[in-house]
């Protein structure tokens, strides 16, 4: 009897909740107003969350592991040498009923690669597909890009090498499929709610800039039976403190970060989810400037700080101390870890000509303006002062200026973070090639380059990982090209006793499809 009553009461509450209030099933604080809703014109994480509701690529993500699972593609085959992929598309349609064909995929990918689109993420597909880089650079026409529609439902692509992580990359919005017919009709305005056409589990219903974005269930989605929410509201609230308060009061269902000062409190709650993430927080040494040119100085700086204390007491959100560049990854054995030792750091510094830090020039440490980066920088600054007798000066710059300064290499030491684009060690290593886009510290070792390039031509498996491991050993253990600090962890707050279908995972990808009220 009692049980029944409870169930009845719960039902009543549910019904009341469902009718009253905003009329939206699920509210998420999405941290910022999106750059755009066009998957080809965005580069951030908040945009990715919206994108996951509105669009689907050839591959989608498994909600538990974030591993690639078939999306618009039903199945695929790979050629013997691992470079040619053939996808069989399923019978999916756009939200306006127009069928999605292999031709749509070809046109979509050519759109992002088109230099005129000026997509911030065009380099990503260009790094995979044969001929794409030349088209992006304007050296060749679109006909040289190795993608084609064999028939209406068969799509084929040729890669620059047997890149085993390509399927994971295909879930990324840079490989997004867009409604070419709608874009041709409405131009830039196709992402407005009245014109919007998508192929994801939800369609855009309302968009009030700086206030909210509401999406509603897409009845034409191929897997609509497994979409349980009727609508989702994305709030662009940037202030973490007010987002946290809203969550505690029950006004929103999911927040994607927790203010650092409140983590102690949040950790005691059952709806707090902390999980490791595929990302590394590190400091870049300017390898071309004295005294950081000297590997002994870089080693000394990296080994003189206490990462366990930093992550436990300063950052406090479950980060893992990092002694390698690549975070723990399934299948990858991991490179040799360096050890922290103040003794040896002092010895190394003395060998480099600066006993007790005497005569060491005052270096500057650059970071982008943020509470969290400042705390970490202050901690490390003090550790270097106490342990090595070295003074560093902290400077902070606003995000865009900071990125430019880093790009131009005008720094001694700079804070950086990298979140993997796919689950393979390569995403953390190939940017440090000589002349590489992310190699702002100008790390240069031809041996390292040779191994990375070799690995790109190898089939997946332990041998390839062995070569990448050797490369990473050279990069960190031997050369200390950058200074790893910790592997990221993410804080989400969502009541999983109320919501089903939401799971923590290393990519922090949470598909909307399976989420439902328990």
């Amino acid at each position: 009897m009692r049980k029944f009553l409870q169930a009845g009461a719960a039902l009543l509450v549910l019904a009341l909740y469902g009718c009253g209030g905003t009329g939206v099933d699920f509210i998420i604080v999405n941290a910022t107003e999106p750059q755009s809703l066009d998957p080809h014109l965005v580069e951030g994480v908040p945009e990715h969350r919206i994108n996951m509701a509105l669009f689907e690529g050839l591959m989608a993500n498994d909600p538990r592991t974030a591993e690639p699972i078939p999306g618009i593609a039903e199945s695929y085959t790979v050629s013997e040498d691992g470079t040619v992929y053939t996808f069989k598309l399923r019978d999916a349609v756009w939200s306006d009923g127009v069928p999605i064909t292999a031709e749509t995929v070809v046109k979509s990918w050519l759109r992002i690669l088109n230099p005129e689109t000026a997509s911030p993420y065009a380099w990503f597909p260009a790094a995979f597909i044969k001929g794409a880089q030349d088209y992006l650079d304007g050296k060749a026409g679109p006909e040289n890009v190795a993608i084609r529609a064999i028939d209406a439902k068969t799509f084929e692509m040729t890669l620059v090498g047997p890149l085993p992580y390509v399927l994971g990359a295909l879930t990324h919005y840079a490989f997004g499929i867009v409604p070419i017919h709608a874009i041709e009709k409405y131009g830039k305005d196709w992402i407005k709610p009245e014109n919007f056409v998508g192929n994801g589990p939800f369609v855009l219903k309302e968009w009030i800039p700086q206030e909210s974005i509401v999406v509603a269930k897409n009845p034409r989605y191929w897997d609509a039976a497994n979409v349980y929410l009727n609508s989702i509201k994305f709030l662009p609230t940037e202030d973490e403190n007010s987002a946290y308060t809203m969550f505690i009061k029950g006004e929103v269902d999911w927040i994607t970060s927790v203010p650092v000062d409140l983590i102690v409190e949040a950790r005691k709650r059952p709806d707090y989810h902390n999980s490791a993430m595929l990302g590394t927080y590190y400091y870049i040494f300017n390898n071309e400037r004295k005294p950081l040119k000297d590997v002994r100085v870089r080693q000394a700086l990296a080994r003189a700080i206490n990462r366990a204390e930093l992550t436990e007491k300063v950052t406090q959100s479950g980060q893992i101390p990092a002694f390698t560049m690549v975070p723990p990854m399934s299948g990858y054995p991991g490179a040799k870890k360096f050890t922290e030792s103040v003794e040896e750091a002092r010895k190394l510094l003395a060998e480099a000509g600066y006993p007790d830090g005497k005569g060491f020039p005052k270096l500057t440490l650059l970071f982008n303006t943020s509470e969290n980066h400042k705390k970490i920088a202050e901690y490390i600054q003090q550790q270097w002062k106490v342990n090595l007798g070295i003074e560093v000066e902290l400077t902070n710059q606003e995000w865009k200026t900071y990125l430019e300064t880093r790009d131009r290499g005008e720094f001694d030491i700079a804070r950086a973070g990298w979140v993997g684009d796919y689950q393979d060690p390569n995403t953390f290593l190939d940017m440090f090639l000589i002349g590489g886009g992310g190699n702002d510290g100008k790390y240069a070792n031809t041996e390292f380059d040779r191994r990375i390039n070799d690995a790109a031509k190898m089939r997946p498996g332990p041998e390839r990982f062995k070569v990448l491991e050797e490369a990473e050993n050279l990069f960190i253990y031997q050369d200390m090209g950058v200074m790893p600090i910790y592997f990221y962890a993410v804080n989400n707050m969502i009541d999983t006793s109320k919501w089903d279908g939401w799971y923590p995972n290393v990519m922090d990808f949470h598909p909307w499809k399976g989420i439902r009220r328990k």
Binding site: E240, N241, P259, V260, D261, L262, V264, E265, K268, E309, K313, V314, T369, E371, K374, K375, A377, E378, Y379, Q381, Q382, K385, E393, L394, T395, N396, E398, T401
Partner: protein, 343 residues
């Protein structure tokens, strides 16, 4: 029984004596002055006062509340104990053996480690640094910044204003129109551009602030000079052949000094506030140095959990600004020849 005649009482007082008397009669102004002097003393004596280093981190002592009686170690133990207890209460169980053992071990380390004997009168921040020390050293920075900024801006204002006022004509028109143009530009933007071009350090910050805030001073000084330049004693100086610069700097400016001093005192709080605002935007002093503004900025995030981190720096700043304003206002009234009413 003859009453003192009025003549003798008035005759004995010089102008400045009168001003001082007027000032001393103004209670708020005197209190303001005493507080300002106290602040200045503490800031100057900070290195010899028994304070912890403002950059010294004791990570075990993060976020400790202010306490007059307990040491850092005791507070830490109390905090840990209540943490464990509330956890146990929420799970409806007594403290587990493991938790008790942890507390015991902590007690032992606290008793034996001298660092746990530290005392934090105003609590600690996110890296276990003493708030009292940070507020005092932060005050040093804020006050020096206010003073240097006000002096620099007065100096520029004095120069531009007196030249414009004395020479008049085209030069005056040119200088004043430049001031008008600078007035119309958003000053925060100018400061931010200045800092971006010349680099971000505290000296540049002061000059950037001074560089955009001498405009009012220049106008005030110009008005003063214009009213003085036609008075008889200037005529006299001119008639015996004194050079314009001699007249300006030996005869006119000393007479304008009262106003300038008063104006400077009233400008100091403005500069402190501007620095606080810039610090709040992350453009102020660079860590681990602090100013009142940056301390407040650091504290905003955890305001609900650790109110002392916000309260004390804000209080220190507000008291100083109040005192400075009362002090400046008292000075102004005292030196104003038209406010004879009070005597």
């Amino acid at each position: 029984m003859t009453p003192p005649t009025q003549d003798t009482a008035v005759a004995g007082k010089s102008l400045s004596r009168k001003a001082i008397d007027r000032f001393l009669k103004n209670k708020m102004a005197v209190i303001g002055m005493v507080v300002v002097v106290l602040y200045a003393l503490v800031a100057i004596l900070a290195p010899v006062l028994p304070l912890y280093g403002y950059e010294e981190q004791v990570l075990d002592h993060q976020y400790l509340p202010p306490s007059l009686t307990q040491t850092g170690g005791e507070l830490l133990l109390a905090k840990k104990t209540s943490e464990f207890e509330s956890l146990a209460r929420s799970q409806n169980r007594p403290l587990s053996a493991e938790e008790l053992a942890q507390l015991k071990a902590l007690k032992h380390t606290i008793a034996n480690d001298p660092k746990h004997q530290r005392r934090y009168l105003l609590g600690t921040d996110y890296l276990g640094r003493d708030m009292l020390s940070r507020i005092i050293y932060g005050g040093q920075i804020s006050m020096v910044l206010g003073l240097v900024g006000a002096l620099t801006s007065i100096l520029i204002g004095l120069l531009v204003g007196s030249i414009a006022g004395y020479f008049g004509g085209r030069l005056d028109a040119f200088l004043m129109r430049s001031v008008d143009i600078l007035y119309s530009l958003p000053y925060m933007l100018l400061v931010i551009i200045f800092m971006a071009v010349f680099g971000k350090n505290i000296l540049n910050l002061v000059f950037a602030l001074a560089g955009v805030s001498w405009l009012t001073e220049a106008r005030v000084v110009r008005g003063l000079v214009m009213s003085l330049k036609n008075s008889e004693f200037i005529e006299a100086a001119r008639s015996i052949g004194a050079s314009p610069f001699r007249i300006l700097f030996r005869h006119i400016l000393p007479n304008a000094l009262n106003v300038v001093i008063v104006f400077t005192t009233l400008r100091i709080p403005t500069f402190i506030l501007m620095e606080a605002f810039l610090s709040f935007l992350g453009l102020g002093v660079s860590a681990p140095m602090a100013s009142w503004g940056s301390l407040i900025q650091d504290a905003v995030g955890g305001m609900t959990l650790y109110p002392w981190r916000l309260m004390f720096p804000a209080l220190a700043m507000v008291i100083f600004l109040f005192s400075m304003n009362f002090f400046g206002d008292g000075l102004r009234e005292a030196f104003d020849p038209h406010s004879e009413k009070s005597i």
